[in-house]
Symmetry: C4
Subunit: 237 residues, 4 copies
């Protein structure tokens, strides 16, 4: 895939995340530079629904803009830089506050776990990171490299890390993969909350089932990407 | 009804199921061939909202395409083949992941039952099938004939079978009937969950009431079909 | 108000009820003839969102059409006839299955009561009618005059009667009044269910507060009617 | 900011509050006169979604119109007058019935508290005012100066006061600030209810965190304002 195609997909992903209500006024998605693993692309400070190609800024992994041209920046770009530094396998990162997941970031002792086959991409373990543990009272925003690195450490080898009272960081091996995971993170959170209220013991996916699903080609992802793109009013890519 | 009308209704049904949020990126509906009971029609691999007449593929009951013409196929077509083979009375099958029903597929010991007169078509008994019981750890997808046959066996003489951690298969005596049942399956699941939370004992429909409703002509279905078609932007058929 | 204006409002009310999701494919609203209290107007059998002036049929209180002209009829018109006969003060009746109220029709011992000032129009008491009590196992539809009369008896002097496993009948002193009550019945049901789940004792409106609100002029209703009409794409009337 | 700009923002705010479902047919937002602190601006009696520049009326703090020109008035303007008199720091007031907050106004002993970083603007304490305590059985509307003053007294130094069985009054240092707080009040109420149902102890924002967030510049508010304006179909301002 060419850089131009990837950047076009990044704009489409912004629209999809807004349309599927993974993000609202806030939240962002980045992609690693396909040729330079020490760089990534992220929009300047705008609500995802409004992001265009002109808003995309290139960054080094310390979150310095390569060519800012006066554009305002997201203050929370260390979420992205921190994860790209710690996890060479990750190609795309989404930070979001999807409403459905927030309760799982603040309810002590309650674990979010995949129970639906399309949410197997969430992985068997979803850690929760609390910025207060290491940094005390803050405005909860991840604005320093130290905070970004600490978040990445909490993510460890997993796909997703929840952020207490704030949201989540979702990683993927491609933009499409990260978007798919972020959408079904939201769906799974909603369904798990509903299932817990029915009063029975819940049957989650087994580790074996999660492993089997990870062997699937991404055909299904392609179908979903086409569908979400159309819904968001973006051309199929 | 001519084959052309039935295929047009099949496309409309795809749009309705998407618009009423019975399906999202995933899910599919098929119809048995009106003249050849050993054949059925199902879209190639696309999200239901995007399905057109050109996507419809004819299959035999072993799920071999009669005329594939290079189109990608749903891997889960054995859901359809399995049910058509076991149940000569069934003319249409819907596989879906409607969010409202998933909790009832994973909450042990909690039974989904009709409580609303328009959901009498769900039938008195709705079994839950767990692919793991016979096939162990899988990716949960019904991709072999053996799995499709096992699912049909769990369905038995009922209208609907829930699939653990996955969704459901809904059967009908016509496309309109299957769509009506799938929509009100979703509605009933939502309302039953809500009613359970109010804390009182729930009054479900009696078997006698379900039987009385099954005697109704499908006038009401016609009214609903017209309504859903318009909402989905499809011409009335 | 002229008959022409009232019939135009009846069409608008159908659209509003559909747009505000008080009705879906099913449900209907009628209005008493302004000059002949022994007559009422009700659409022929169509989903409310699709009703036009040409669909409106005039009925006597035994639910016989005055001028049917081949149009299909709602089978449940005895809901309307029964209430108009028993309650000379009622000028408009809405039958609906709004999803939010169904749980309160099937959860034994749980009473729906107004807790929001805009839902004072629900009245202090909302009885629940179960067709099975007098008529045994039926298809739950109110299709005979005897059933309509029995429902009206359960309504008694109240504004609303819930129907077990089915929905509700809402009465009003005008189309606007009935629509306002039906919308806030739905809202109140949703909010009461939510409030019950918070775990504290609930503070409902007092009878004195309900009485005070009933003295309000209908200025507020006018504001809401204008708002709902616009949302439903109908001209202000 | 010029008066013209502020009035244009007031119209935009009406549209945003309607589109984000903070208000429905009812609810209103006012702004203090930038040059005359003893005056404020508020629409005449219309649903917020329909408010235009021509509907805006100027008031003194006793809620007398300066130039009514025959326009109907909201009866509840003392909510605004009362708060502007008691709180010179407040520049904008929103009265709303957002459905998500109503349960917290009627569930005894249950406190609404911020748990999400974007809802830090709610403040650490959110009092509940019950009109019945001082004024007995009323129609719950705040229609007298005495009632408005009593409400303002309950608000005290906080950002928000809930009103039992009715809604809330939200204050801000600007229109944008009040809108941001009102939107995230609604979001926080929904998320807190959801979190409470998961069964674990809830981690709320600490007072230190709330204080840290209040130091943030309003860059984020600008991003949200742009986003909400676009969604509501209003030009960016």
């Amino acid at each position: 895939m060419s850089l131009a195609e990837i950047l076009r997909d990044l704009v489409t992903a912004n629209r999809i995340l807004a349309h599927e209500e993974v993000v609202d006024a806030y939240g962002h998605i980045s992609v690693r530079h396909p040729d330079r693993p020490d760089r990534f692309f992220l929009s300047g400070s705008r609500s995802p629904e409004l992001v265009t190609a002109d808003d995309i800024i290139e960054y080094d992994l310390d979150c310095n803009p390569i060519d800012q041209r006066g554009r305002a920046q997201y203050t929370e770009r260390p979420i992205h830089g921190g994860i790209y530094k710690a996890r060479p396998d990750v190609q795309s990162v989404i930070h979001n506050h999807a409403y459905e997941i927030i309760p799982f970031t603040v309810a002590k002792g309650v674990k979010l776990r995949p129970l639906l086959h399309t949410s197997a991409g969430l992985g068997a373990t979803i850690p929760v990171w609390d910025i207060r543990q290491k940094f005390g009272d803050t405005n909860l925003l991840v604005t320093t490299l130290a905070q970004g690195n600490d978040l990445a450490e909490a993510l460890a080898k997993n796909r997703i890390v929840l952020m207490r009272g704030h949201g989540s960081a979702v990683s993927g091996i491609s933009i499409q993969d990260a978007v798919h995971t972020a959408v079904y993170l939201k769906v799974n959170a909603k369904l798990q909350a509903e299932a817990m209220r029915l009063g029975g013991e819940i049957i989650y996916l087994t580790e074996g089932e999660i492993a089997e699903m990870s062997k699937l080609s991404q055909t299904g992802h392609g179908r979903a990407w086409e569908y979400w793109s159309r819904r968001a009013g973006a051309a199929k890519s």
